[in-house]
């Protein structure tokens, strides 16, 4: 068993709430926030999404940004989540504080809005030209909190946020940083909505993770960040939980689809258990990737079966609450994993009725109270990128 890296703060904004308390309340009361697009201007008005019903203008006002700011929507959401995390951790930002953010599309919302203008040589919004860089969105957030030291962005599609948490934990462990803000942010865009739609993996109803009749995912948006601190920096601060294990592997099977036996997922979970120094039986709850696509839930179930053999712990996917928030998903679910540990509760997997024929797995469908020491959280993405994290109770 290895003493993990301390989490001293967390912050989140998602369709089910603008802060940690609001997200928690939605999770325990089974209140999802899947709706249809209103803030996002798209012709696909019927497609269910986990949209945050706040305009960019209101988000910017919340952050007291000037009128001509160049924050993308992902930067606005990210800054709000970081603000909560920093305030909870009572964090002093200095030269030895890092910021690592996962994002899949960064400022694509700005790029798609102004692409035609730029193509015609219109320079009215040229402050958003660099928004196509994922690092641009990250730098806006870093700027807001005056993080000037190590700042980086990870873009491994839907495992970006989880990989950011992993890198942060490794940098603390190796002594490269004393404090680091880690997580991810992604907003809804026409680009991603149409992209997933063209792949025909969006459901036209509420998504049903791990159900035999699941027919695709719902896209969502959100941001979540954790503050990780080195042991000697914590002093009397409350420790919310620990990042004790992480594993990253590549499925090396297909650009977008997962292999049938979930090889990448299996290897990621195996490595996470190894770095945590615990056997699989120690896991009390799995926050699954569970996107509700045919392919993911099959592959993930196969991998879970290989890791846990006949003793599968309680598991659920919280994607039916928030939608799949892509790069932010691993970060959102890190917050949910820590909430599960703190409150000794397993959050339900919504919209489940029929077990998948080939696994027979039954997720937790009603809020379940029980002591939780270890949570495994999975995030898998395009490009075969698979990452698993293990969170543990402080003192465990």
């Amino acid at each position: 068993m290895i003493k993990g890296v301390a989490v001293t703060g967390m912050g989140i904004i998602s369709a089910i709430g603008n802060n940690t308390a609001a997200n928690y309340n939605s999770l325990i009361s089974g209140k999802h926030a899947i709706s249809t697009p209103e803030v996002l201007k798209t012709i696909h008005k019927h497609l269910p999404v986990g949209e945050i019903k706040i305009s960019n203008q209101s988000l910017a006002q919340n952050l007291n940004l000037p009128e001509n700011h160049s924050y993308t929507r992902a930067a606005l959401l990210g800054a709000l989540a970081v603000k909560e995390a920093i305030s909870q951790a009572n964090l002093k930002v200095d030269e030895e504080t890092g910021f690592i953010s996962g994002t899949s599309i960064g400022g694509m919302d700005a790029t798609e809005t102004y692409f035609k203008d730029f193509s015609e040589g219109n320079i009215d919004h040229n402050r958003f030209i660099r928004a196509q860089h994922p690092g641009f969105t990250t730098e806006k957030i870093a700027e807001y909190f005056e993080v000037n030291g190590f700042v980086s962005t990870i873009s491994t599609a839907c495992s970006s946020g989880a990989n950011a948490i992993m890198l942060g934990a490794r940098m603390i462990k190796s002594g490269k940083l004393k404090r680091v803000i880690v997580g991810g942010t992604d907003c809804l865009t026409k680009f991603t909505l149409n992209g997933f739609n063209s792949l025909m993996i969006l459901s036209n109803e509420q998504c049903k993770p791990f159900d035999e009749n699941r027919n695709g995912l719902n896209l969502g948006e959100g941001a979540a960040y954790l503050v990780l601190e080195a042991e000697e920096e914590i002093n009397d601060k409350p420790v919310l939980g620990r990042v004790s294990g992480y594993g990253n592997a590549n499925d090396a099977f297909h650009q977008t689809a997962s292999s049938e036996n979930g090889e990448g997922a299996f290897l990621a979970m195996q490595k996470a258990l190894k770095t945590a120094g615990i056997p699989a039986e120690k896991i009390d709850y799995i926050n699954a990737h569970g996107t509700a696509t045919k392919n993911n839930d099959n592959a993930e179930s196969a991998a879970l079966e290989r890791i846990f053999i006949n003793k599968l712990p309680d598991f659920s996917s919280t994607k039916a609450f928030t939608g799949h928030t892509l790069a932010a998903a691993g970060a959102l679910e890190a917050v949910y994993s820590l909430l599960a540990i703190q409150n000794e509760q397993v959050f339900p997997n919504l919209n489940f009725s029929n077990p998948m024929l080939n696994s027979g797995f039954i997720p937790v469908t009603n809020l379940k109270e029980k002591p939780i020491d270890y949570v495994l959280s999975n995030s898998f993405g395009f490009g075969g990128n698979c990452t698993s994290l293990i969170f543990s109770k402080n003192g465990e």
């Binding site: 960064g106 690092g135 990989n163 792949l199 075969g384």
Partner: protein, 354 residues
Amino acid sequence: MGNKIYINGIGSISAQEEDLFSRGSVTIYRENIFPAISPNYKEFIKPMALRRMSKAIKMGVTSAKIALKEAKVEVPGAIITGTGEGCKQDTEKFLENLLDLDEKLLTPTSFIQSTHNTIGGQIALNLGCKNYNVTYTQNSVSLETALLDAQMQFNENPEIGSILAGGVDEISEKITSFQKLDGQLKLNPIKNLDLLREDSTGTITSEGAHFFVLSKEKKENTYAEFQSVSIKNVIKPETIINEIENFLAKNNLNSTAIDAVILGKNGDNRYDYFYKNLQRKLLKNKPQLAYKHLVGDFDTASGYAVFVAAKILKTSKIPAILKLNNVDCKIPKHILIYNQYLGRDHSLMLLSAV
């Protein structure tokens, strides 16, 4: 501090041919956006796969394969990729279709290949490599973060023998040209070789891929030792000298031990002071080199600097075209690389002779 890390293989694709080192021939461009010179991709990628690939993927997979072959590594212990803007050509294709067709009748191919981790994923797929795989997208420190991660991986995992780490960026017709609208590129076309004599805003840009096989084991054909990398988002111009001194001190060196410095000078007179300060003070009597007048500036252009440093350390030869001053050095042992873009995303790297 852990293991020594050696560069045992390099795959470099850029706007210059590799014989710049052997014969000193230089390719001249007269546009501010110019393409990389393509190797014969068919030697490295199957025709079926090749047809679907954008240039970033082709360059990435090919340079990775060249580096691995040179280092005689089949499956690396990790694949770590840096890319500032990822697969711009596929992003642009999907986005233009989406806007032109008003979100109707879209095909997924370019969307699938638009994600920033496509290159890293495709290399893994090509090699059947299931190991650690991450993609960093932090503007001009994307490659540097990949190298930093590689160094940490060696320290954390004693079983890892070699790691493939590199950086790739491509130009695309529209998104790259937008850089003319916000001052990133010079407005009037210049000759690339005149870049460092320009006194105007903006730079010139291109594309390329640089993959490196880093190994714990020193071999006969090892290029150099990769010592260290440091990344900082914001540096006050007046503290850059301090930053460099601290960085060298962490590596048990001081500025007198540095035999040459490779600067990321890109002809943008708004940010040149970061380099000028160093050139006039701390590194005044050192050979000062530059490279962006050859390969343009792009997010992972510093891959060319690492390539140049490794070549110089191996051969003890400095091509004249790189030189900014007349200071000479017979047998360079330590080379410092410094880069930044628009005053942000600063990086320092240190390579040493073996």
